[in-house]
Symmetry: C2
């Protein structure tokens, strides 16, 4: 671990913001810095922190990788712009889908996204910008889980022994590396982020690719995007820690126009959790589950079967990747 | 259709039994007949009907195909023997698993079971018996659904234009072909079958093979057998039309000993239905669902994820084959 955790109860958000702004200014000096905004709380907080420290010497890129939720790229970019930071929207959908082609294994899919992001798209943008400093929203839990081998976070590089200056040509600055999620949310609130962002439920780095079992084609991502929109609409009031839809790879028998036919299965997960380390399925009312299933089978093309996760984490994981 | 339905309200079980016994006696004459007992209500009723008509000129075989539930072959054989009919238990497990090897498609798996049963195992037994008459538990719904193309029942032959006398060397007698399930149950009760058999919840012809997505190996059948036992134990008091566990083929991420690992998913289905034509998931209490999931993940090796079906039939089917 690079440094000790700053616990929520020991955090003074205003002082933290001031200290981090000073640290960023000192590190970057008169030069410029870049960062990638994903729309998650971590990268949004880093964007506003660094914008406060560097003003227009910060270049923020939002990369549309084609695997985000309905309307998400436009919504995130306009929200952060309203907070005062300049954001450039980059369409890189084709590059990501090309990299994902033929990949079925979750780790290979994750790796394809990481590589396309760091080695291709973002690396090209950083080089074109001429900047030697990269700000990144790594948090304490990302480092911890990667080291423990529970999951491979997409944004862990230095901690895995990767010399970013040598490999990618830039130095990585991680202002949030001593915070866990609740502390990051407190900082985001203090920075003036809207609640839709600082309290945004967790969403995985590999985005909707984490929500399909098997190959993540443009078509399959479009299906799980629709299913995700339905889950998020129907479960918005449930106060759950996280809710998601997973498109399975198994072909499931079903009926179409009174005849036997094969179709797709969507699995819905909705989690109660305090810290994402352990979690249990939310006891949703059956009316809600039945409405979810009815919408999935009528609105998402090809879906004939819908299930609800009833296992806990562990031994399950929250996401399917 | 061979003949009109006899509705439950028009059925006098005693008269039906008497008429069918006479018909069987007339058809078989002084010769012998054979039948296969599966343990379902249909084949059990046929066994007792034909035993009443023919006495020890009926030879009944119970073929252990390796794809039945825990303890089922022994339990069925001893129950029917207690009712007075002689039953011979035949171990044909290897033949069925050989035929299922490498088969992933539900229709191919179903066909492999049908062919192994009719063309190999049972055909051999019938030939060795020297009998030219085969009694079979086809019911009205089997014929109806096969003709409608909803599912391919394993026991429909004549109705699909197969000349059994020519193809297999025996004539098929179907005493129950004008009854639906509730009427068959009433006849079973009148014949003195125990309630565990005449009220047995439906169980598919392809048995546990219908409960695995993908290849039905000996090992995968053993896993879904354990899962099925858990579902049937835990949901015994729920008064459901049918309840089942399905082993999926998708590899699902999970955690083992604190590390990320891949594992299996079991889907539980529990149906409310009157006639099996339409069905909806039983609104099980979450305590029950959570106990099911906890038992599956701790007792069935390799299971990391458990779901509950929330879709209706249609567009889902009740079974997964």
């Amino acid at each position: 671990m690079s440094a000790d955790e700053i616990r929520l109860e020991d955090l003074n958000p205003e002082i933290f913001i001031q200290e981090q702004c000073e640290a960023i200014s000192k590190e970057v000096g008169d030069a410029t810095a870049v960062n990638a905004l994903s729309g998650g709380v971590d990268s949004s907080v880093v964007t506003l922190l660094a914008h406060r420290a560097l003003g227009d010497r910060l270049k923020t890129f939002f990369i549309d990788n084609g695997i985000m939720r309905q309307g998400e790229p436009q919504r995130v970019v306009s929200t952060i712009r309203e907070c005062g930071a300049a954001v450039q929207l980059v369409d890189a959908q084709d590059e990501f889908f090309d990299a994902l082609k033929g990949k079925n294994d979750p780790e290979e899919k994750r790796q394809a996204i990481t590589d396309t992001f760091y080695k291709s798209v973002f690396s090209r943008l950083v080089k074109a910008s001429g900047s030697r400093h990269l700000l990144q929203g790594t948090i304490y839990t990302d480092v911890e889980e990667t080291i423990a081998g529970i999951k491979r976070q997409h944004n862990i590089l230095a901690q895995l022994g990767i010399d970013t200056a040598k490999e990618y040509g830039y130095k990585v600055i991680e202002p949030l590396v001593r915070l866990r999620k609740p502390a990051v949310r407190a900082v985001g609130k203090a920075l003036g982020l809207p609640e839709t962002i600082y309290n945004r439920p967790p969403f995985p780095g590999p985005a909707l690719v984490a929500r399909v079992i098997g190959e993540a084609t443009r078509e399959r991502i479009a299906l799980v995007r629709q299913a995700t929109a339905i889950v998020e609409q129907e479960l918005a009031g449930m106060n759950a820690f996280q809710c998601l839809a997973i498109l399975h790879q198994d072909r499931i028998p079903g009926m179409r126009n009174g005849k036997r036919d094969y179709g797709l299965q969507i699995e819905v997960r909705c989690w109660d959790s305090k810290d994402a380390v352990t979690a249990s399925p939310t006891r949703l009312p059956f009316e809600v589950l039945e409405k979810l299933a009815a919408r999935m089978t009528s609105e998402v093309p090809g879906v004939v079967s819908v299930t609800y996760n009833i296992a806990t984490k562990p031994p399950s994981t929250m996401e399917a990747v």
